[in-house]
């Protein structure tokens, strides 16, 4: 499947352009997409902290919705949570649009 990724502000320099089309295996999620995009040490450092977690101040939208707002949505099987659908685990589908923002904080 193909996903379109849009970069904003300084991420345009980090990722070499305003947008990219990325080919992913079916069933991939945001984490898989970021892993694929972060193919250099500099890119990884900007996106993930040392423990490999997404830096909390990086804003990511999936089809115009903040992935943080999708957090906590679970599929439950016999009362047991089996899957998070939101956050970095949000599943991607063919044609999805993902937007990634660095913090912009100067005045």
């Amino acid at each position: 499947m193909k996903v379109k990724v849009k970069f904003f502000a300084t991420f345009r320099e980090l990722f070499g352009g305003e947008a990219k089309e990325v080919e992913l295996g079916s069933g991939s999620n945001i984490q898989d997409l970021l892993n694929l995009l972060c193919d250099s040490r500099q890119r990884r450092q900007e996106i993930f902290d040392r423990s490999g977690k997404l830096r909390p101040y990086i804003k990511i939208l999936k089809n115009g919705r903040d992935i943080k707002f999708l957090e906590g949505v679970r599929i439950e099987l016999e009362g047991e949570p089996i899957q998070f659908l939101g956050g970095i685990h949000a599943k991607l589908a063919d044609g999805d649009m993902v937007a990634i923002f660095p913090p912009v904080g100067g005045g």
């Binding site: 345009r12 909390p56 101040y57 939208l61 660095p102 005045g107």
Partner: protein, 243 residues
């Protein structure tokens, strides 16, 4: 009422929104947090537009390295309080505007008194910690907050209307680490003008505000994007479970 001089001074904008609109601007009281890059362009354009009262708060001294972007200040202002320099320039630009300056570091303990009975807050800060203080105050008082921020050739702006739009904490829940970002003077020029435009439209009640929309300016590629925003129901500042 507008004086004869004011009607003449503002004739090119009165032709857009009438003397009634101009009177609305004259009655407005706008609080500007910061007298740096954004604060310069915001305060200059609000002054020449004829806002009745401007209150600026800042805690900094003019330094040589400010002068590439902080267009209120001149070479001979180095070493002066930014506010002293700002007050002097703004009063010369339009003596009809009441400019009030307060040399203070904004924090959660003093913000209430600083904002006083002002109608709206313009964010011209350089850090998110203080922006969250402005956000909380705007929410508590139910007054708008006009957000702007810059980095290099990039900038962003949005208009926060408490109770109606996402708040700053919904949009950016986490404080990024403090940095000294690179800035080309034109960027706070562009973004500050967008914020000042929003303030004027809000006071006049015309046009479409940047409500639930983040405007992203990319000066390097000359592209402006618009990003949809939404309230976070679990926002710690404005959500049902939050403040």
């Amino acid at each position: 009422m507008l004086t004869k001089d004011e009607v003449k001074r503002y004739e090119r904008q009165i032709s857009i929104f009438g003397e009634e609109g101009q009177r609305k601007l004259k009655k407005a009281k706008v609080f500007i947090a910061g007298a740096g890059g954004l604060g310069s362009s915001i305060s200059i354009y609000l002054t020449v537009a004829g806002i009745g009262k401007l209150r600026m708060v800042d805690n900094d001294i003019v330094a040589l390295e400010n002068l590439n972007r902080q267009i209120l200040h001149r070479d001979n202002d180095i070493g002066k309080k930014k506010l002293e320099s700002a007050e002097e320039k703004l009063k010369k630009m339009n003596s009809n505007v009441e400019v009030e300056v307060i040399f203070e570091t904004i924090n959660i303990g003093n913000i209430d008194e600083l904002v006083g009975d002002f109608d709206m807050i313009v964010d011209a800060m350089d850090n998110f910690a203080t922006r969250y203080v402005l956000n909380k105050t705007a929410l508590m008082r139910k007054i708008p907050l006009f957000h702007g921020a810059v980095h290099g050739f990039y900038g962003q702006a949005t208009t926060i209307i408490p109770g109606k739009t996402a708040c700053l904490r919904c949009i950016f829940p986490e404080v990024p680490p403090p940095t000294v970002p690179p800035v080309v003077g034109v960027t706070p020029g562009v973004v500050g003008c967008i914020q000042a435009t929003e303030v004027i439209k809000y006071i006049l009640g015309i046009g479409d505000l940047l409500e639930n929309r983040l405007l992203m300016w990319d000066g390097l590629n000359a592209v402006m994007d618009e990003v949809p925003l939404e309230k976070n129901p679990r926002c710690e500042d404005c959500g049902k479970e939050g403040g």
